[in-house]
Every structure is written in C-alpha cells, then in structure tokens.
Symmetry: C2
Subunit: 230 residues, 2 copies
DNA sequence: TGTACATCAGTGAACGCGCGTTCACTGATGTAC
DNA sequence: TGTACATCAGTGAACGCGCGTTCACTGATGTAC
C-alpha cells in the first residue's frame, strides 16, 4: 500500500535521473511499476510499454535500454512474484510446529492465502505469457532444476513445487502419509491448490469454505494422509 | 475443422445479406466468428469488434445491431461454450455403464478431455470477463439455479456443476462414497478438475499423467470413494 | 395488377485514441592527460 | 589544478497501425391501398 503510493507519487513528478553506474536501478523500478499496474488494474493487459513508462515517470523509449519488449517485462514480473510466493510459503512452513502434517497444511494454506490476497499477481504467474516465457527460458535467471520421473524439468515454479514435494516427503517419512510416489502426490496437491485459487478468484460469489478448512479437505486425501478422528 | 474452413471462406468473399426476418442469423454468425477467432489465436484478446466483423465478412458497425459491445459478444461465446461442455460431459456419462463410480469418472474425464482439447475455449469460460459477466448476469439467458448450503447461486457453470454433484450423489446412494456432504465433495472435485485443465494447459512441458489416470487419482479420494484393490 | 412507401439489414467514411517503435538529440558525470 | 572528452542515462518528436464509435447513407423486400 505504502509502496503503491510511493509509486503514484513518483509518477506525478518526473523521477530524478539515476547517478552513474546506478542505471540498473531503473530496471528494478520498471518491474515494480509493472507490478503496481497489474495490482491496480487487476490484469496484466494493463502492462503496456507506455503505461509502464508513465508509471515510472520516464519517456517510453527509455525502457528499451532495459527490456527488449513488453514480454521481457512480464517475464521479470513473473520471476519476482514467484520469489514473493516462495517467501510466503516458507513463512507459512516456519509458522507451523515440527509436525510434518501441520507443516504441509501450513505451507499449502500460505500458498492459497497468497493467491487469494494477490489475485492479479497470482494470475500472471500462470498466464498465457507463461507459455512463451517457458519456451525461451534459457536466457532467464535461475531456472531451478527439478526432476519428476527422472526427466529434468526447469521452470519458474520448480522451487515452490520442490518445497511442496519435500513437505509431503516428510509426511511419508513420519509414517503419516501412505504415498509411494511423492512427486505424483505433489502434482495432485498442486493442481488442487491452483484450482482452488483460480476458481475462487474467478467466481467470488460462490460460497467457498474457509481457506484453511478447504486446504485440509483437498490436501489430506490427495497426499494420502488419514484424517485423525477429530 | 470443416466449420472453420467455411468460416475462412466466408471471410474472403463478402457474406450474402440475410433475407428479411433472418437478421437473427447474423447474431449466431457473430458468435461463431468470435469462437473461431479464439480457437485460431488461442486467446479471447483477439475478439475485437473489427476482427469479428472481418471474420464474418461484414462492416464493423453492423455488429451494433446485434451486440452492445465486445463484452456482450464474449458473454454469448461463454454461453455457447458452456453448452458444448455440458454436451461433452453428458456424452461421457452416457458412454459409461450403470456403475455410478464409473459414471462419475467418465463424466470427470470428459470434462478434463474437453478442456485439454479446447484450451482456448475452456479458458474463456473462466476468464476475467467472466466476473463482470456474472455481475450483470440478469439480462443473460438461462442462469440455471443451484443452491449449495441452501443459498441460491445462479451462474453459467451451475448446470455442469449440477451434473457433477448428481454423479457423486449416486455414488453415495450406492454406498461407494462415504461423503456426507455431496455439494462440498463436488466443490473439491470441481476445483481439482479445473486446476488440472488449467495447469496442464499453461505448463504443457511438465510430464503430466494420462487424463483418465489423473482423474482417478484426483476424484476418488476427493469424492471419498475407497479404491478397489486393483 | 400497380405503385408508393415503410422497414429491414446492413454500408462507407471519418473521428480521435493509445499503442510500439524509430530516430536524432541532450546534458550531467566521471576520467585521462 | 584545469580541461577536453567519452560515456551514461536518458528525452522528444514523429511514424504508421488497429481500435471503438459516430454519422449519414443505401438498396432490397415486403405491404397497404
């Protein structure tokens, strides 16, 4: 909120030129401006070169020194939002006690809560742009490796997926989960969590359960964790 | 395919004027053209008034006699694609035998298969436009009523959701499902199916399971159906 | 049977707008001598 | 310590494009008398 207001203020008066050697700061400011636009309008369609330039307070052609085109900006946005998502998941994991089932549920709840609290940012992670981004992903920063089925997959969601699979693995090791294929279980859980965020965002009028309860309902059966008698 | 080719041919030569009293036929042709654009480009962003007019073979202003604006066209597209989806689900249900679990799995597999085979059409069903469409939904044709938790909900996906809940209810009645709240179970299953279609479309490079097997993995636990020893 | 007329189903030109992209440029800041 | 110069971090004007929307219009078809 305060960040967004600072952004608006910067847009009103023209921004001050960066000192020498600080040119890279504008790169970060452009990404921040694109995120602010996405949050304010609710869609990444608002990220046009000219709109971003207005938001930052620079002339439109100045962007070319930092990004090749609009898609390059959106890709940088995706990278940064994935970092935020991972931070949120880790915070959720750390907020839980040592019990692996509680940790799994806390991490998954953090994922869903992040998606519901930041619908526009979450949507851009899995937007159509994502596809072309994944295709030309070699020149993009850190594509963490992850290998389900022995087949190596690199991608921007890989690190978050790795956290999920590790949390399920801990449940298997503790005897809480009966899964014999943690990657497969992780895929199922991820699909359900993504569906929950996506549908809930699209159909807000539907009477959805509370996030924590909904996550329990989805994750425990899909991770093959037998429910306590409660 | 043949339909699409007919559409392209119509776009090349100007279409023949409708006979008197047949003006409503252009309304349908405009919706068909919008769907053809969505399928060809992969996104509903391609549905502009001028692009649709070109596709149909008419002048752009002619659309105003049939639709108030672009969103009205997209809403009509959503209505027609939901009809197609429901037809596909019913075909899946009918292709299965009398066993309610097999019927549920066949219906859910049909849902996922439709989504994977028609990614652009499926995406428009749950696009952002959907939200504004749902808000101003009173003047749109048949919003089938459905009431989870006694609270009435009307919406374009309600009929498909009703099919899903009925299929789960049949499993409860036969003793195959232990669910005590079919609406809640239906919500969980729907979320998982939607997530499967959505993520699989966005991340085609990930090594996904076969649809029928994936549907089993997701639906049986979420519908509280104990798996046979196999 | 003829004819004037209303209606239907559109057309064509024009407008202003925001967009991506190009081009030549500017002015402050550091650096070599 | 002074000064010429290279570089950095941008600017401003202009282009052509597709878009939504308006306006006055056209020409075939049915209908009343």
């Amino acid at each position: 909120m305060t960040d967004s207001q600072g952004m608006r203020a910067a847009a009103r008066s023209r921004r001050q030129r960066n000192a020498r050697g600080q040119g890279a700061r504008l790169t970060e400011d452009i990404v921040s401006a694109a995120i602010a636009l996405i949050e304010r309008t609710g869609t990444d369609e608002a990220v046009t070169l000219r709109a971003v330039a207005r938001e930052v307070g620079i002339a439109a052609p100045s962007i070319y020194a930092h990004f090749a085109d609009r898609d390059a900006i959106v890709m940088a946005v995706i990278g940064r939002v994935f970092d935020e998502l991972i931070t949120a998941i880790e915070a959720g994991l750390n907020s839980a006690g040592p019990d692996p089932v509680n940790r799994l549920l806390a991490g998954c709840t953090a994922y869903v809560t992040f998606g519901l609290a930041n619908p526009a940012k979450y949507a851009v992670l899995f937007s159509e742009r994502r596809i072309s981004a994944a295709m030309a992903a070699e020149n993009y920063p850190p594509p963490t490796e992850f290998s389900p089925d022995g087949q190596p997959v690199s991608g921007l969601g890989a690190e978050a997926f790795g956290l999920l699979v590790a949390a399920i693995k801990a449940c298997v090791d503790s005897g809480a989960s009966a899964s014999t294929d943690v990657t497969s279980a992780g895929t199922a859980v991820w699909v359900a969590l993504h569906g929950a965020v996506s549908l809930q965002t699209t159909l807000p009028l539907y009477p959805w359960p509370e996030p924590a309860q909904f996550v329990r309902q989805l994750v425990l059966p899909l991770a093959m964790i037998s429910q306590p008698a409660r």
